[in-house]
């Protein structure tokens, strides 16, 4: 007898038949009928029509039948809320049942019925159950609070359930403690700034006691909660570590990984010379190795985390290289991760082993894996200098196999090796050239071209080789075209006599026949360089290149720190900060590793000083200095520069912009004025670049360029308030800062005037923001390139991104800033107009507007009066448009114009407004509707500002 019988019929009167059976007098028949109903439900059939009949079966002392009816209720109550009320009485009665199993079941099920009306009735029984004498009921009730919070957060807070839940952390039963922690953690996730889990040494002690006795799942909740705690000193840290260490031997891998997280975080506080520190390091290796013998899915998650751990503390696994060796039947996702970790662990001691393995992998079947293995050999060469020679010979062996994709991949990595060890392995160039014809992938072709260009003086037929590529120039990918252009220019500079024709050919191909702006621009740059000053051209094009190093693929240190605090989570699997995951308005608190005791950070304003410290450390790694980028641009588009893939995109963008601007204006200044352009080459380029004419000063040019872009991009022009003094010289040892904010073509800028009113020169400026409501953060370093001498004022424009850490400020638009120079660090705060955050694509569809307007509850509507404004509605509309406040519709009723407008903030919040303008009346009425009603006030201020200026 199996349940498959329940699926057999789909004939016409099925529902009718079931109805009859449900109302049967025979218990057994009833139960069978409910089972049939459930079976239909599981496969997605709609049996909601049977609601009243099934609910009628609820009044029973048969536990199985009861459970089945509950299952049904949970599924369908939402679609039949009025009917669901019928069930309430039974629930309330069941919550009083002498059998704790029934009490718990009732409270559990009630929480799963996501109907508002029912939740009201749930409060009383839930309150009782939270204080029930039976721990089984209490632990079920704890979870129920989380369910209720999900449905109606306000209700839970009003009823004081959160406090009861906090009390349960001190419950005598470990299971109850674990569930209370789990429920609180889940609730806290939607309230990032609440102090729900207020951890102090007493609660920590209770959690540690419960940790030993609760179920494996409870242990995970408690460990994850512990990881959020910051111990007071190294002694407390050590004692927690000691009590968590036994969890490393748990059979459940999730428990193990959560324990690893706690230990990795807390050991940061231990002094390194402590014996215990060494012991702990040793204890961490075996459990991590054990994770790798588990099922492949577990292995994958473990490997992603080990990847982080190895970067943070390579010493833990340095002797365990062999466990990362790839087995041929590992799933591909495990293979690729293992390979990555092998390279991270490669050192002089084990390089021979690693290379032998990698060579083995290069003969595997899976093409992706083989490619990555070949690439790995190149990375080893760059990482372990002593092994470079061996790596090169291994790569040459692989090239001899003539397997097409292996050869191409090998050439790509050999190019990197050449960059790292210039003038060392050029003897292999001949071998490489033999394979020229077989290269069909852009990356490999570009790499080969780069090699030919770079070593043009040693390759006799370099011109022939490059010329052969030139034939199909227009069919090549951009990457190859750019590379070819650069390589030929290099060749020309090295052997000018015989290649003049070639260089002319490529320049005209790039500038006249190509519609790719990058290619054209680079063509022009070279052309002009060559024509005005060949010596300078040589200096620029053949400049010494920055060396590439193994660090290119490491995770940036501050991100790594944050990820270490999130070991075992999704963030650790994706190697992205949690803020990149969490949806919508839910903020995330950034976690940092605790500081080691006695590291001597100033304590009076820890928040700001800490973030300033962090920034100055991080700055050089996040944003490559201009010189680097310049070198790289001229050289290659192949290898990523020092900025790894983990740099937030907006930042990278900022850096690129900066460079592009700098270069263009530099060139424009130099060449725009020189009429003898192209003299050396005979022909003048047909098209003139348009963005010329910027002043030739590099430092100022940057800011000016942004200005230029702003005025071109937005004819209406957003209102920019005049600069005001933010930091008086009195308070900052002679440094006066005044400034304002502007939004120009989608870039938020902080415009600063720095004035030196002291007697001595100021240098080494840097800027940092405290966390703020909208995550504003500098998108680049403060560009004060020259020292600021006494009585000099410098204008600086700092592009801002909105991807920084978020914390709600009071008032909302408050921004706390720290500025550092060679003298001291100064703090000030300023307020920015919220219109800064109005984005360009803030125009809503009419339909969406209507629906959203209706959808936002009326409680969120705020009304303001704007007085003394003498614009008519059209003028107002166009003025507002300049600040990205878009008019969706206009309605005129009784000489009164109503403008419906939408605004979108950088964090995706929509603001809808209605502006009423009465002919002849200088007072406007503004209604603002927004889901986040706290911004309304500031939106009103912006209207005032924009309309009156």
């Amino acid at each position: 007898m199996t349940d498959s019988k329940y699926f057999t019929t789909t004939k016409k009167g099925e529902i009718f038949e079931l109805k009859a059976e449900l109302n049967s007098d025979k218990k057994e028949k009833k139960k069978e009928a409910v089972k049939k109903v459930i079976a239909s439900m599981t496969v997605g059939k709609d049996v909601s029509a049977l609601f009243p009949d099934v609910v009628n079966c609820m009044q029973t002392d048969n536990l199985e039948l009861k459970k089945l009816v509950y299952l049904y209720l949970m599924n369908y109550a939402k679609s039949q809320p009025d009917m669901a009320i019928m069930a309430v009485n039974t629930f309330v009665k069941d919550c009083e049942d002498p059998n704790p199993l029934i009490r718990a079941l009732a409270v559990r099920t009630m929480g799963c019925i996501r109907v508002d009306k029912i939740t009201e009735y749930l409060c009383e029984p839930l309150r009782k159950c939270l204080k029930d004498e039976d721990p089984y009921v209490r632990k079920t009730a704890a979870v129920c609070v989380a369910k209720l919070h999900d449905i109606n957060a306000q209700l839970v807070e009003d009823q004081g359930f959160l406090d009861t839940l906090k009390d349960l952390i001190s419950d005598s039963n470990p299971m109850v403690v674990a569930n209370a922690v789990a429920a609180l953690s889940e609730i806290a996730e939607s309230h990032p700034n609440s102090n729900l889990l207020d951890l102090n040494p007493q609660t920590i002690n209770k959690l540690l006691t419960a940790l030993n006795e609760c179920t494996e799942w409870g242990q995970i909740f408690i460990l994850d909660c512990l990881a959020n705690y910051t111990p007071r000193d190294d002694r407390e840290s050590q004692s927690i570590c000691e009590r968590v260490t036994p969890r490393l031997s748990h059979a459940n891998s999730a428990v193990v990984l959560s324990a690893v997280k706690v230990l990795m975080k807390f050991m940061e506080m231990l002094p390194k010379d402590l014996d215990y520190y060494g012991t702990l390091l040793k204890k961490l290796a075996p459990p991590l190795v054990t994770l790798l013998s588990a099922e492949p899915e577990l292995q994958y998650v473990a490997l992603r985390n080990i990847n982080l751990i190895v970067q943070k503390r390579p010493e833990i696994l340095k002797h365990e290289m062999k466990v990362f060796f790839v087995k041929y039947n590992d799933p591909i996702y495990v293979k690729l991760e293992k390979l990555d970790i092998m390279i991270r662990l490669a050192s002089q001691a084990n390089i021979a082993q690693v290379l032998a393995e990698l060579k083995e992998y290069a003969t595997e079947v899976d093409v992706d894996f083989v490619r990555k293995a070949v690439r790995a050999i190149g990375r080893c060469a760059i990482k372990v200098e002593q092994s470079a020679e061996r790596c090169v010979s291994t790569l040459l062996d692989l090239i001899q196999t003539k397997v097409n994709y292996v050869v191409q991949e090998a050439i790509v990595v050999i190019k990197d090796i050449f960059r790292k060890y210039p003038n060392k392995y050029e003897s292999v160039i001949a071998t490489l050239c033999e394979n020229l014809d077989s290269l069909d992938e852009p990356e490999a072709r570009a790499a080969m071209i780069w090699i030919v260009g770079e070593y043009a003086e040693r390759i006799d037929n370099a011109d022939e080789l490059l010329e052969s590529f030139l034939e199909g120039f227009h069919d090549e990918s951009t990457q190859v075209q750019l590379q070819l252009l650069t390589a030929i220019v290099k060749l020309f500079l090295k052997k000018p006599t015989e290649t003049q024709e070639l260089v002319q050919q490529v320049l005209s191909l790039a500038t006249q026949d190509s519609d790719n702006p990058d290619l054209r621009d680079r063509g022009y740059i070279y052309w002009r360089l060559l024509s005005t000053d060949p010596v300078a051209a040589k200096e620029v094009v053949l400049a010494e290149k920055p060396l590439i190093s193994e660090e290119t693929d490491l995770i940036e240190p501050t991100l790594l720190e944050e990820l270490i605090c999130h070991i075992g989570t999704l963030a650790s699997v994706y190697h992205k900060p949690p803020s990149a995951f969490v949806e919508g308005s839910r903020g995330v608190q950034h976690k940092r590793l605790p500081a080691r005791a006695g590291s001597g950070e100033s304590t009076d304003s820890p928040d700001v000083s800490q973030s300033v410290g962090g920034a100055t450390e991080a700055a050089p790694t996040v944003i490559p200095s201009q010189g680097d980028l310049l070198g790289d641009l001229l050289n290659l588009d192949l290898a990523p520069p020092a900025a790894g893939p983990t740099v937030p995109p907006s930042m990278q963008l900022g850096a690129m912009d900066l460079l592009g601007g700098g270069l263009d204006s530099l060139l424009g200044g130099d060449i725009g004025g020189s009429p003898a352009m192209g003299a050396g080459l005979g022909s003048t380029p047909a098209v003139m670049p348009t963005s010329l004419g910027a002043p030739p000063v590099v430092g100022g040019g940057l800011g000016d360029l942004f200005d230029l872009g702003g005025s071109v991009g937005m004819p209406a022009g957003a209102y920019v308030p005049p600069k005001s003094v933010w930091l008086p010289a009195m308070k900052a040892k002679g440094l006066e800062i005044s400034g304002t904010f502007a939004r120009r073509s989608g870039v938020i800028q902080m415009e600063l005037s720095l004035t030196n009113k002291a007697m001595s020169v100021m240098t080494d400026f840097a800027i940092q923001f405290n966390r703020n409501s909208f995550g504003l953060a500098p998108a680049g370093p403060l560009q004060v390139l020259t020292p600021l001498s006494p009585n000099q004022t410098i204008e600086v424009s700092l592009p801002l991104s909105t991807s920084g850490p978020v914390m709600k400020m009071e008032p909302l638009n408050n921004l706390q800033v720290a500025v550092k120079n060679n003298i001291d660090v100064f703090y000030f705060s300023c307020q920015y107009p919220i219109s800064l955050l109005f984005v360009e694509d803030g125009k809503m569809e009419r339909q969406v507007f209507l629906a959203t307007w209706k959808d936002i509850p009326n409680d969120n509507e705020a009304q303001f009066v704007i007085k003394d404004c003498h614009l008519n509605s059209d003028a107002a509309s166009s003025k507002l448009q300049g600040s990205n406040i878009f008019t969706i519709a206009k309605r005129t009723v009784d000489n009164q114009d109503m403008l419906y407008q939408s605004i979108k903030l950088t964090n995706g919040i929509w603001v809808l407004t209605e502006l009423r303008v009465q002919g002849g009346n200088p007072s406007y009425t503004l209604s603002v509707k927004c889901r986040a009603s706290e911004v309304s006030q500031f939106v009103y201020q912006c209207y005032e500002l924009v309309l009156k200026n």
């Binding site: 599981t42 199993l101 789990a182 494996e216 459990p287 492949p296 998650v301 999704l570």
Partner: protein
């Protein structure tokens, strides 16, 4: 926490869905199907898949994808471990975790899933407790239930739920009290062409079958506990006693469970019981090749190596194989390109050998890749690491139990490169 679970068969049908919070449309599985298509082989589907609003975490067991949906930040291992537990529970209840078994018992499956999670939080995942709450189906029970009208859902609160030993139920009674322990060791190894060990380690587990009345408190000690420095225990094992005395002290769950697992990686401790001499070569012309494999015993501590099976994933261009084994039988599947040679017992006097020719697709180039050999074997009455149980003592109960320990060594992922 865990939001929903979808069970998907290899044909891509969603045959069961369960939601612990609000209902999530099954269209979310489209992202999974997309990833599945991209991965090709079902084994290669990435375990964590990101979609615009959810994360899909999946495992693949018995030709079924268990796909769970999560919405907030939840430790992925937590979800994967839970999914393993679900698959194990099906196995435990229905004897197999197959689509047919699940469909046949869909109501029990639903009841089980409901008991295992509450609002996405694990509730009862111990087999002992679940079996008290929901009785596993047996033919006899369903007959009795139909006649008497009783149900297969327990009426009482499972005792284990609240005690400090949640894994054991109270009031266990047996007429024959017995405790058996199986020490099972698997050798994972990679050998290179020349037979040198590239990598080797031992994964060991101690499986227990304990059927003892009352609340027995057991102590298991080893002759050579120093071998074990990397261990994972069942929650019942008292870690403190292990730390201080190197004995396993525990109140066991009732029935079958895994007491501990361990891991021996020190290379010099891992003996390799078999060796393989192989030569697979392809001629430059003529679309053919030769294969010659010999398997022999190496460090076997005087025991017989049994159930030897060699599996080779041949390159795609191999059409057929014409071979002669001196012992056992061989098969070559031209579709999956898998050559299997079932040898059986290893004989010291006459080493088994498989020799013959391979034919390639006409005109195909010589294959580039080297096929790896996968070896399976089994050695009874031997734990290759040398681990030995010293004694088992019982406290807390008066009766005298039957005790037994069995050892077996198997090949885990044992690969020979060519």
């Amino acid at each position: 926490m865990i939001h929903s679970l979808f069970l998907i068969n290899s044909a891509g049908d969603i045959f069961l869905e369960k939601h612990w919070k609000s209902v999530i449309s099954r269209s979310v599985c489209d992202y999974f199907f997309e990833a599945q298509e991209k991965a090709g082989e079902p084994d290669n589907v990435p375990p964590v898949i990101r979609t615009p609003h959810h994360y899909l975490i999946n495992i693949y067991r018995e030709k079924i994808f268990f796909v769970s949906v999560i919405q907030t930040e939840v430790p992925p291992l937590f979800v994967i471990e839970f999914l393993h537990r679900v698959a194990e529970m099906f196995q435990d209840y229905f004897g197999e975790s197959s689509e047919a078994a699940i469909k046949d018992n869909v109501v029990i499956v639903y009841e089980l899933l409901e008991e295992m999670l509450d609002n996405g939080f694990p509730l009862a995942t111990e087999s002992n407790i679940l079996k008290e709450l929901i009785k596993p189906p047996t033919i006899l029970r369903s007959v009795v239930n139909t006649i008497t009208g009783s149900s297969n859902v327990g009426e009482t609160l499972p005792t284990g739920q609240l005690s400090t030993i949640p894994w054991r139920r109270a009031g266990v009674k047996y007429t024959n009290n017995e405790a058996y322990f199986d020490v099972v060791e698997e050798i994972d190894a990679i050998l290179d062409k020349s037979g040198t060990t590239v990598f080797a380690e031992i994964q060991g587990v101690i499986d227990a079958c304990v059927k003892l009345s009352g609340m027995p408190d057991l102590t298991l000690s080893f002759m050579n506990p120093r071998l074990l420095d990397d261990v994972s225990f069942h929650p019942c094992v008292r870690f403190k006693r292990w730390e201080s005395e190197r004995v396993l002290s525990f109140v066991p769950p009732d029935g079958n469970f895994q007491l501990m697992s361990y891991h021996v990686s020190a290379q010099n401790l891992v003996a390799i019981p078999v060796y393989v001499k192989q030569n697979i070569s392809f001629f430059e012309t003529g679309s053919s090749g030769r294969l010659d494999i010999t398997v022999g015993p190496k460090q076997t501590m005087g025991k017989t190596v049994e159930c030897v099976l060699v599996t080779i994933h041949m390159p795609k261009v191999i059409l057929s194989a014409n071979l002669t084994p001196t012992q056992g039988t061989y098969t070559y599947d031209p579709v999956t390109k898998i050559l299997m040679w079932d040898i059986g017992k290893l004989n010291h006097q006459k080493l088994p050998n498989l020799k013959g020719s391979l034919s390639l697709q006409s005109g195909a180039a010589k294959p580039e890749e080297n096929p790896s050999l996968n070896i399976e074997f089994k050695i009874q009455q031997l734990a290759i690491s040398g681990l030995k149980v010293n004694r088992l003592d019982m406290y807390g109960e008066k009766y005298k139990p039957f005790k037994g320990v069995k050892y077996v060594t198997k090949a885990g992922k044992f690969q020979v490169r060519t």
